[in-house]
Symmetry: C2
């Protein structure tokens, strides 16, 4: 076990293991092997063991990993398990769909609030939640504690939106906006890039032999 800096890839796979373990738990299975997790997550068993070994020794030699306790450990590492707040900025199509879809079975996330710059929308209800003006951001974050913000605003509004979030004390952002966004040190920003995923798929259709 060597807790230095951990790669994003390892963390991403931990998320997959967690998802798999939650599903396995519902099947009543109590113990799993690294081989089992590997098959279901599409990697090698050695990879699974290496990922887990970074954080500790969670397995029992000869048998495998206890589903419940391994899941608890992974959730502790990811900071999930306990309910966590996700807020949405932008009550357009995507924002609305996210709130409607919810975050069931994800490790305790919940959409806790939604904001929009458009005064027309403010005060209206979106999926059972009142759409708040951006001026309420700071207060909401103070109340909720650590939050992850998902931004789903129009192209061109991304940077201003990020600025307000950072200003209000948010330091984890997931963006559906594709503009390159500037963030200060210490703030984490990730993108959901549907068009890039399409490009990768498109390229695969170009390959020889089709």
């Amino acid at each position: 076990m060597t807790v230095g800096k951990v790669s994003e890839r390892t963390i991403r796979r931990l998320s997959h293991y967690a998802r798999c373990l939650r599903h396995t738990r519902t099947e009543g299975k109590k113990i799993v092997t690294s081989e089992y997790l590997a098959k279901r997550c599409g990697i090698s068993s050695a990879g699974v063991r290496k990922d887990l070994a970074v954080f500790g020794e969670f397995g029992k030699q000869g048998s495998g990993y206890d589903v419940q306790s391994l899941l608890a450990n992974i959730e502790r590492i990811l900071g999930t398990g306990k309910p966590s707040h996700v807020i949405v900025i932008g009550a357009g199509n995507i924002g609305h769909a996210l709130l409607e879809s919810g975050l069931e079975g994800t490790g305790g996330y919940n959409y806790s609030a939604i904001f929009d710059t458009d005064p027309e929308k403010q005060g209206k209800i979106c999926a059972g939640t009142v759409i708040q003006p951006m001026t309420e951001l700071r207060e909401a974050i103070k109340e909720l504690g650590d939050v992850i913000a998902v931004i789903a605003v129009s192209d061109g509004e991304g940077q201003e939106c990020v600025n307000q979030l950072v200003e209000a004390g948010c330091n984890a952002i997931l963006s559906f906006v594709l503009e390159p966004l500037d963030i200060p040190e210490g703030v984490e920003l990730r993108y959901i890039e549907i068009s890039t995923e399409l490009d990768i798929l498109s390229h695969s259709l170009m390959l020889p032999g089709r």
Copy 2:
């Protein structure tokens, strides 16, 4: 220049360069350097040059890359530029939001059709497009040619949905469904995993010094 098998990471970055170049073009800029693309895409200039060198020599030494011709080359490599058809399976929240959002400025993609298993929804209009029954899949794909399918169906319906897509001749799928999906050789499948992105952000909030 060495066209062997190209890594997904390189293709993903080509997608970023293309997006950046489209934006640059609208600013009237005709020539860019690897350093310029690097800054805007958050990598090193050597990385940019290496990525491009895989496919040819697109630059002019001493000046840089011609925006229009580099973009054309990248779009040719990705198979974008010419209009391409994207179909959506599942007219729920996400499917609806995707169609409403459209795919403007992405390299020529268009949502060309939407399907749903629910007879209640079939025949209704979603963002200006008639919701079709799954039985129309084969015919639609035959008509459209190569398509990329985005699946946004309920949990538990993913595999059946994929089966029908593959059966109908689709071999590029982007899934919002998180179940592990089985696909035959030759079919490309990718996932959009919002909850995993949240997990990665959540983990970053756990790191020391916050």
